[in-house]
C-alpha cells in the first residue's frame, strides 16, 4: 500500500455451504493499476468478483472499494464500480442507446450526463453504427463492447471485468485488449482471465489464484524472472553425448541434465540448476577443458504458462 489504493481486500473468504470457494484472499490494487486475476476454471475468480461487486457478501474478511466497505457501505461502494460479468449479460430486447440510458438511470446519473456519456462511451467502444440496433441482433464482439460501454458509462473509479475476451474472435480480442489497456490509468482495473499471454499484454501486476487461494502475486516480468536465469539453461555442445552429459552433471550446482536432440557431433542439452549462484562459468569451463566445442548457451525464461502450471500443479510437492 504505497500510494492510494482503490481496492483493498483483507482475508476475504467465501463459503458455498461447506465448500470454501475462496479463502483468505488479501491483496490491494493501487489507483490506476491494472491487476490480472489469473487462475484455472473454478479457482474462485468469479466468486471473488461477485463479492467485490456486492452481489454476494463474503463469509468473512473485508473488502473496500474506493474506501467504502462492500458490506457496510454497499451502495456507496457499488457507485464506484463498473462491472462486466462473465458472458456479458445484456437485455436483448433493448437497443444499445436504450440500454445505456437505463444503466445510467439505475446508477442515478442525471439525464444530461447520461446523454453526453452515452455518446462518449459509444465512441470509445466504437459502437457508432449500432447505437440504435437491438442488442439481441449484435454479434458477440459488439455485445462485449456494449458490456464494456455500460461498465465505464458512469466513469467509475474501479472496473471489474470477468473474462472480458472470452468467446470473441481473434481480431476482436486484440481490439478489446487494446480498449481495456486504454482504460487503465483513468480507472483501476481488475481483470480475470485464464489466458496467460493476455495477462502479460494488459496487466501491470498478476495475482495467481488456485483453489481459492493466492499462490503468487507479482508483475508478469518478475514472475518470469523468479524462475529464469541460471536455474534453467540450454547448451549446445559439440562432443560425445555420453561424456558431455557426465561432465555437465559433475559441474557444481547442476541438478539435472537431459539430452534434447542434435546431429552427430553436436547436441542440445537442457540443464536444471539448484538455484545457488551462477553455474554458467563452470559449465563453460568444463566443456572447454575437455576440448569440446561450446556452440551456444542461454538462459531459459519460463513463460507464464509454465509458471502457472508449476504454481498450480506442483504446489506443495
Amino acid at each position: 500500500m504505497t500510494t492510494e489504493s482503490m481496492i483493498e481486500v483483507d482475508g476475504l473468504t467465501k463459503y458455498y455451504g461447506d465448500f470454501p470457494a475462496v479463502s483468505g484472499l488479501t491483496f490491494s490494487v493501487r489507483k490506476g493499476e491494472i491487476l490480472g486475476f489469473l487462475g484455472p476454471n473454478g479457482a474462485g475468480k468469479s466468486t471473488t468478483m461477485r463479492v467485490l461487486t456486492g452481489y454476494m457478501p463474503p463469509s468473512s474478511g473485508t473488502a473496500r472499494i474506493a474506501g467504502y466497505d462492500i458490506v457496510g457501505d454497499s451502495l456507496k461502494a457499488r457507485q464506484h464500480i463498473g462491472y462486466l460479468p462473465e458472458n456479458v449479460p445484456l437485455y436483448t430486447e433493448m437497443t444499445i442507446r436504450e440500454y445505456l440510458s437505463f444503466m445510467g438511470k439505475i446508477r442515478g446519473m442525471s439525464n444530461e450526463r447520461i446523454v453526453s456519456r452515452t455518446n462518449d462511451v459509444i465512441q470509445i467502444c466504437h459502437l457508432e453504427d449500432y447505437r440504435d440496433t437491438l442488442i439481441g441482433k449484435l454479434s458477440k464482439g459488439f455485445r462485449q463492447r456494449t458490456g464494456i460501454a455500460q461498465a465505464v458509462l458512469h466513469e467509475p473509479d474501479v472496473l471489474i471485468m470477468d473474462e472480458p475476451t472470452i468467446g470473441i474472435d481473434p481480431i476482436q480480442i486484440v481490439e478489446t485488449r487494446q480498449l481495456i489497456k486504454d482504460l487503465g490509468g483513468e480507472h483501476t482495473l481488475i481483470i480475470s482471465t485464464h489466458i496467460l499471454p493476455e495477462v502479460s499484454m494488459i496487466c501491470e501486476r498478476v495475482v495467481i489464484i488456485h483453489e481459492g487461494e493466492i499462490v503468487a502475486e507479482d508483475t508478469p516480468k518478475n514472475l518470469g524472472d523468479r524462475l529464469e536465469g541460471t536455474e534453467r539453461l540450454t547448451m549446445e555442445v559439440r562432443g560425445p553425448i555420453k561424456e558431455v552429459t557426465k561432465a555437465i552433471r559433475n559441474v557444481k550446482g547442476v541438478q539435472d541434465v537431459s539430452f534434447a536432440n542434435g546431429e552427430s557431433g553436436s547436441g542440445l542439452y537442457n540443464i536444471i540448476g539448484k538455484r545457488e549462484g551462477d553455474m554458467r562459468v563452470d559449465l563453460a569451463k568444463a566443456v572447454v577443458d575437455n576440448g569440446w566445442g561450446l556452440l551456444r548457451m542461454e538462459a531459459v525464461t519460463l513463460s507464464l504458462e509454465e509458471i502457472f502450471l508449476r504454481l498450480t500443479t506442483a504446489e506443495g510437492s
Binding site: 456486492g54 451502495l75 457499488r78 460479468p85 449479460p89 437485455y91 436483448t92 444503466m103
Partner: protein
Amino acid sequence: MTTTLAIMKKELVVYFKSPMAYIVAGVFLALTGVFFIDSVDTMFAVAEIRGLLLRSVFFLLPLIPPLLTMRLLAEEQKLGTLELLLTAPVRDYEVVFGKFIASFIILSGTVLLTLFYVLILSIYSNPDLGPIFSGYVGFLLCGGATLSIGLLASSLSGNQLVAAAVGFGVILLFNVIDQITTIVGGAVAKVLEAVSLTGHFDSFARGVIDTGDVVYYLVVMAFFLFLTIRSLESRRWR
C-alpha cells in the same frame, strides 16, 4: 425512487416490444366479452357487470397475472442480467417494486378496457355506477395481490414456464380454497374463508368497499412482495 421508476419504465417498454401486452389484452377482452354477452342475454338481465367481474376474478386472475409476471425476474436470472442489476447501486426492493408496478399498470390498463362494456350498458340502460366503481376497485386490489404471487413465483426460478405454472397453481388454490369449508368445518373453515382471494371480492361486487377486504388484499400484496424481496436477497446466504 428514480431507480424504481427507471426499472418500471424499462419493463413497460419490454411489455409493448414483446407480444405479451397485446396477447394479455386480447385474451382478456375476448373472455370478458363472452362473460358480458352471457350476462346481458338473459330473461331478467340487469344493467350491471357484477357477473363479469366475478367470473373474471375466478377465471382470469389465475391466468393473466402469472403471464405478466413470469418474465420479470425469471428471465433476469436466466440471462444473468440480475447480477448487473443488483451490483448497480440499487436496493433489492427498488427492483421488486419497479417490476411490480409495471405489471400492475399493464393489468390495470387491460381491465380499464372493459369500461367499454359499461359504456354499452349506459347507452341502452341506466346502470348503477356505485357497484361498478367498487367492483373495479376490488378487481384491481385482487389483481395486485395475484401479481405479487406471480412475482414471487418468478423470483424462485430461472425458468419462465415454471414461474407461470407455480403462480397459476398458487393463485388458483387461493381462489378455490373456500370451497371445502363446508366439509372441514369449524375454525379451519373460518381460516380458509379468510384467506380465500375470491371470498373477499364478493362484497366489492355488491357495491360495498369493506375496510377489512381492502386490508386483506393489501396485506396479501405486502406479504408476497416481502417474500419476493427476501427471495432476491437469498442469493446472499445460498
